[in-house]
Symmetry: D2
Subunit: 344 residues, 4 copies
C-alpha cells in the first residue's frame, strides 16, 4: 500500500496516517517529495483496503502496490509449472487436450465417446459424475456410479480422468477415481472446498468464476497452493457480460495476462465459453493461437439426446478434425516463439 498525501497536507496529517499504520500493527515508511509526501506500508499479512486511509485528512489517494498473491506469482517461481500426470503433462511442450461428455450418463455412452477420444491420441478424458445444476430439478449426475464408469475408461483406454468435485465431503471419494480434480466456475470462491483440495494428492483444475477478475482467479489458486497442493491448472471458460450471441463471453486475453503474472498453466474451455457447437471449433483454434496450454472440449456421440449441454458438444468426426487443427496451429505458434526467442 502506498499513501499519496495531498500537496497541501500538513506534517500533523502525515503523522496521523503513520499513527494509524502503527496502530494496525504495520510499518509506515514516509517518503517526502518535492510537492507531496508518499507513505509506503509493509508488514501487512495481506492487502489493505485503500478506503481505510482515504478518509483521513490530507490523504489524496491510497494505492495497492504489492500483488496480494505470492505462491502463484512469477516473483517467487520464475519458470513455467509443468504438471505431470503419469506419462501425460499439462503446461509442457504439447498442448493438452481434455475431451469427453458433459456428464457421464451410462457405461455405453461413456465408452463410445472414450474410444473416439483415445483414437486421436488425446491423453485426457472429462466427464461429470456430480453435476452442479442451476435448477434443483435438473439431472444431477450419476454420483459414485459415474465415477466407477470413469474408472473403466481409464482401465480400458489408458485415458487420464478429469472430473468435478462439488463439496469438501466428496473429495476423498472423487480422489479415489480421478486423476485431476475439477473445481467448477460456481465454486471458484468456495473457500472451504479450495482449502480441502489444498490437501488432495491429485492436481486441481480450477475454472474461472463467471465474474471473476484476474486477481480473484489467482487468489483462488493461492488458496489451494497455500495448503500445500502446488499442482493447479487454471481454466478460462467465459465470463458473464451483456453480450447475448453466446452463453458466456470467452475472454481469451486472460491467457497472456495470466502467463505474464503466474507460472501456472492455463487452458481454455470453449464449450462452456460459447455454449454452441458451431462456435466451439473456431474458438478452440483461437485458444491455441493465443497461447493457451490446452483446451477442454465436450464431445458426444448423440448430442441431441444428451442429459446436459448437448448443443455445445462436438460430434466425433468434428472432434477428430479439431485435434488435427490444434496440432497444426500449435506448430506455427511454437515455431514463432522459437524465432522470437532467437531474435529477441
Amino acid at each position: 500500500m502506498l499513501i499519496v498525501m495531498r500537496s497541501d497536507a500538513t506534517e500533523d496529517q502525515v503523522e496521523q496516517v503513520l499513527d494509524l499504520v502503527r496502530q494496525l500493527g504495520f510499518k509506515g515508511h514516509s517518503m517526502p517529495g518535492a510537492s507531496r509526501t508518499a507513505i509506503g506500508i509493509t508488514g501487512n499479512p495481506g492487502p489493505l483496503d485503500p478506503g481505510q486511509f482515504e478518509d483521513l485528512p490530507g490523504v489524496a489517494e491510497a494505492i495497492r502496490v504489492t500483488k496480494p498473491y505470492k505462491l502463484v506469482g512469477r516473483d517467487l517461481k520464475h519458470d513455467n509449472t509443468v504438471i505431470r500426470i503419469g506419462d501425460a503433462e499439462i503446461g509442457g511442450a504439447e498442448p493438452a487436450i481434455i475431451a469427453g461428455p458433459c456428464a457421464v450418463e451410462s457405461l455405453d455412452q461413456t465408452m463410445e465417446i472414450a474410444e473416439v477420444v483415445a483414437s486421436c491420441g488425446v491423453p485426457f478424458f472429462r466427464g461429470g459424475a456430480f453435476k452442479p445444476r442451476t435448477s434443483p430439478y435438473a439431472f444431477q449426475g450419476l454420483g459414485e456410479e459415474g465415477l466407477r464408469i470413469l474408472d473403466k475408461v481409464r482401465d480400458r483406454f489408458g485415458l487420464k480422468i478429469v472430473t468435478e468435485v462439488l463439496d469438501p465431503e466428496n473429495v476423498d471419494l472423487v480422489e479415489r477415481y480421478a486423476d485431476v480434480l475439477q473445481i467448477g466456475a460456481r465454486n471458484m470462491q468456495n473457500f472451504s472446498l479450495l482449502k480441502r483440495l489444498g490437501h488432495a494428492r491429485k492436481p486441481v483444475l480450477l475454472k474461472r468464476g463467471l465474474s471473476a477478475t484476474l486477481d480473484e482467479m489467482l487468489l483462488a489458486a493461492e488458496y489451494v497452493m497455500s495448503e500445500g497442493n502446488y499442482n493447479v491448472i487454471l481454466c478460462e471458460r467465459g465470463v458473464r457480460t451483456f453480450a447475448d450471441h453466446t452463453r458466456n463471453t470467452l475472454d481469451l486475453s486472460i491467457v497472456p495476462a495470466v502467463q505474464n503474472l503466474s507460472h501456472l498453466p492455463i487452458i481454455v474451455d470453449p464449450s462452456h465459453g460459447t455454449g454452441r457447437r458451431d462456435k466451439v471449433i473456431p474458438l478452440a483454434r483461437a485458444s491455441i493461437a493465443v497461447g493457451a496450454n490446452g483446451v477442454m472440449v465436450e464431445v458426444h456421440n448423440h448430442p441431441e439426446l444428451a442429459l446436459s449441454d448437448g448443443p455445445q458438444a462436438l460430434l466425433p468426426e468434428m472432434f477428430v478434425q479439431l485435434v488435427r487443427e490444434i496440432r497444426d496451429i500449435h506448430k506455427v505458434i511454437a515455431e514463432a516463439e522459437l524465432n522470437a526467442a532467437a531474435n529477441g
Copy 2:
C-alpha cells in the same frame, strides 16, 4: 418449451421434432397455424435446452414458456411470505433493519455496537464469525468464539442474530447460535450448502451472487425450499459491472422484479452494494423507497480499525439518523400503496 417451426417446414420435419420429444420421454402438442406450426412440450421435469431443438431441420425457434421454479413463485402461493423470528418479522408491515459489524472482532467491539443497534429499537444484529475472504491471508473470522460472542448479544439485548455459514459441515454449529443463517454472494450457487440449509430449522438469508440473474437467484432459493425449508429471505447486494465508482453496482430494480414473480421477502444490503460509507445512507433510503422489505447495513464504532470492510461501515450516529429516515420514508410509501389499492 414451445417450438416454432419455419413457415416452409414440411410435415416430416414436424414429425421429426415430435419424435425427438417422445424419445426424450416427454409429450409434444402440435399446434398448426395459418402460416406456421408451433409445438408445445410438457412432462419435462425441468427446463429443456432450446438449442437441442433449434438444430433440427425446419425449426425456427425454441422458446421456454414455463418458468423453471415452482415453490418460490406466486403461481403456487399468491400471498407474501412473512418470516417470523420470535417477536420480530421480515416481510411484514414494517421494514426490517439488520445492523452490526462486518466481522465479530472481539467481545467489547461487538457489545458496543450491539448497544447502538438495540437503542434504536432495531430487532436484528448481524456479524460474521466465519468470513469468506478473497485472499487466504486475510482475517478469516473468530469462528466458534465469534458465535459465542453473538450469543451474548442476544442474551443481553434481545437482538436476533444473523450470521453467515460457509459450508455444509458448519451448519449444525452455526444453527446452535444463529436466528437467521446467511448464505454469502459467493456461495449463492454452492448447491451442497443450499441443500443442507433446506434441512435447517432456521430461516435462510440468501444473498444474490455477483453475476446472478433474477432466475438464478430464484432457483437458488428453490434449492433450499425443495428440501423443506420455506423460510427464505432474498437479498440484493450489488452486482459486478464495468462501473468503477462503487465496489459493485446496486441493482434496485430487482426488488419490484422479485416481488412481481415471488412471494418471498427481499431486502437490500447497501453496504456491500456500494463499498463506501458516503453512499450507504442515500442507497439505504432508496432501498426503502423502491419497496424492499428491509435493509442490512454495517455499523462500526471504530471503522478505521475494523479488520474487514471498515470503509463501508456507518458510524453509530449516522446509523441512528438513518433508522429515523427509513421509518419516515417507509411511512410515505405505505400510505401511497394504501391509496393506490383504494383507487385501483
Copy 3:
C-alpha cells in the same frame, strides 16, 4: 500522474523516467523515499497514459493522481449549480419533474398528455421530435413538425420544453423551439455534437451512455462547458449489464458519486432505465430518495398505441399519483439533510 519506482530501481532508471517526462514537454518531480522513489508529473495538458511509463525499466506502477476534468469539478466551483429556465429550475430546492411522451406523435396526443402534466404543476415537458432508433426501419420522429407541436404545448400550458437534438446541423433548428436541449445516451461521446452544444444558448441535458463510466460522463459535460455553455444537467438512465429483468440496469449509486465530485445537477430517467411501467414508479421513488435533483418520466394517454416505448410509459393517473409521492419523499429527505447539517 505519479510514477512509483521499484524498490530495486537504480538511479539511472529514475533518470530515464525523468528524461522521458522532459522529452514529452512536461515537468518531473522526483520524490526519493525510504524504500523507493516516486516521481510526480505536472504540466501535462490532459491525462497521461500510465502504460507509457510502466514499460520503462525500474518502474513499478504509474498512477493518475489528478482528475482529468476541471470545469465540472467541485475544486473549481464548490457550490451546487442551479439551472434556471424562466421561473423553473433544476438543481434548486425542489425536485425537478420532466414528463411527457417518448415521441411527439400528433398534435392531439401531445396536447392531451401535456394537459395531464401541467395539471400536476410540473414545469417541464419532454417529447422527441427527432428519435434515434436502433433500426433504420423504425419510426424516426416527426422532425420540425414535432417541434412546432411542442411550441404549442409551451404556448398553451406554459411548460418548458425538453427535446433531443441528434446532430450538429440541427442544433440551430431545435434551439429555436426548445428550452432544454437533450443529448441521448448513444450520443454521449459524439464529440462534434458536444462541442456544438457548447455554443448553444440553452441548457443541455446530457444522458449517460450505456457503458459510460463516471469519469467519461463528467468529461462529456466538460466538452460542453469547455466551449462556454456552463448549463449542463446530467442524467442517469441505466447502463448495460448481464441482468435481464430490466432493459437496462439503473445505477442509482452514481447520484451521490456525481454530487461528491461535481457541482452540476443530476436527474434520473427511470423509464428508459427499466423499460417497464411497473418498475418506473418504485424506481422514480428511489431516485428521489437517493438524492437526485429530479426525474424524467414518460407518460402516455394510450401507451398500447405509442409509436415507441409504449410499455414503459405511465398512464395519466399513475403519473398524478407519482408526483404526489415524489414530493412527499423529497420532504423527508430535505428534512433529514437539514437535521444532518444542524448536527454535523
Copy 4:
C-alpha cells in the same frame, strides 16, 4: 412477432389481441393449438416491442421471430461479400492486414511507419487525422493536414488509406483522401453519420460499440446499406466488461456469430481490444485462427513518444514477425476449411 396466449385464455382475449394488431395497421394470424393459441404478426415495418402485447389479458409471452435487419443478412444474399479497393480486397481469400499509427502526428513519423508496413507487402495503412478523445484537452488530431500526409503515403507506397470520419460535415473532406472510411466505436449508433456514409462512394469500416450487441452492430450496418452503400466491413474491437486486465474485453466469438448471420466481412482490432502491446500479438494470432477476415493493428516507430495510445502500438520488428505468423496460421485454417468442405 409471435404472441403466445395462456392456456386458459378466452376467445375474447384472443380477439382483443387481434384487434390491437389491426389497430396498429398490421396483420394478425391466429394459430389455435391443442393447449393454447399463438398469434403471428406480419406487415410491421420494423420490430415490435413485446411489452406492448404482454400487458394484455390472456397473453403469456410475446416473442420476436423475425430478425430486424434485411440487407446485412444471409437470407437476402447468401454469398460472402468481398470488398475490392483497387487491387486489394477485404473478405477475399487472404486475410486483410491494416496497420499504422493510432494518430497521424507528422510527415516523418507517418512515412517511417508506412515504409515498414509497405515492406511487408501489407496493402492497407491506417492513421487518424481526426481523433475522438474522451477528454476535450487531449490531442484531437492534425485534421486536414493529417489527411494530406496520408495522401502522400498512398502516393509513395501505394498503400490504401483507412481513416476515421467523426461527423457528417467532414465526410466530403475525408472521402477526398481516404480509401476506406472508418466509423469509431463511440459513433456506432451516431445515426446521422451512418446515414450520411450510406451516400459515400467509399467502403465503410464500422467498429463495434463498447456495449453493442450483435443485433445492434448489424443494424448499424443496415443503416449504411439502407441508404445505398453496400460496402461495409465490420470490426470487433473489444467490449466493456468488469474484467480489468485489459482495457476492453475482446469478444472473438462474435466473428463466427456474424459470419453465421451476415455476408459482410468482419475483421478484428486487437490493439484497441486489449490496450497493451504484449497482448496484441497473441490476440492477433487468435483473431486469424477464429476465422476473421483480417486484423487492424497499431504500429509505431517510437511508441513511447506517441501522442495517443502508445502502449498498445507494436514496434516495427514485432509487426514484421506478426505478419509472417498471420499468414502461416491462415494457411492452416484455410486448409482445414477445405478439408471440412470436402468431407462435409
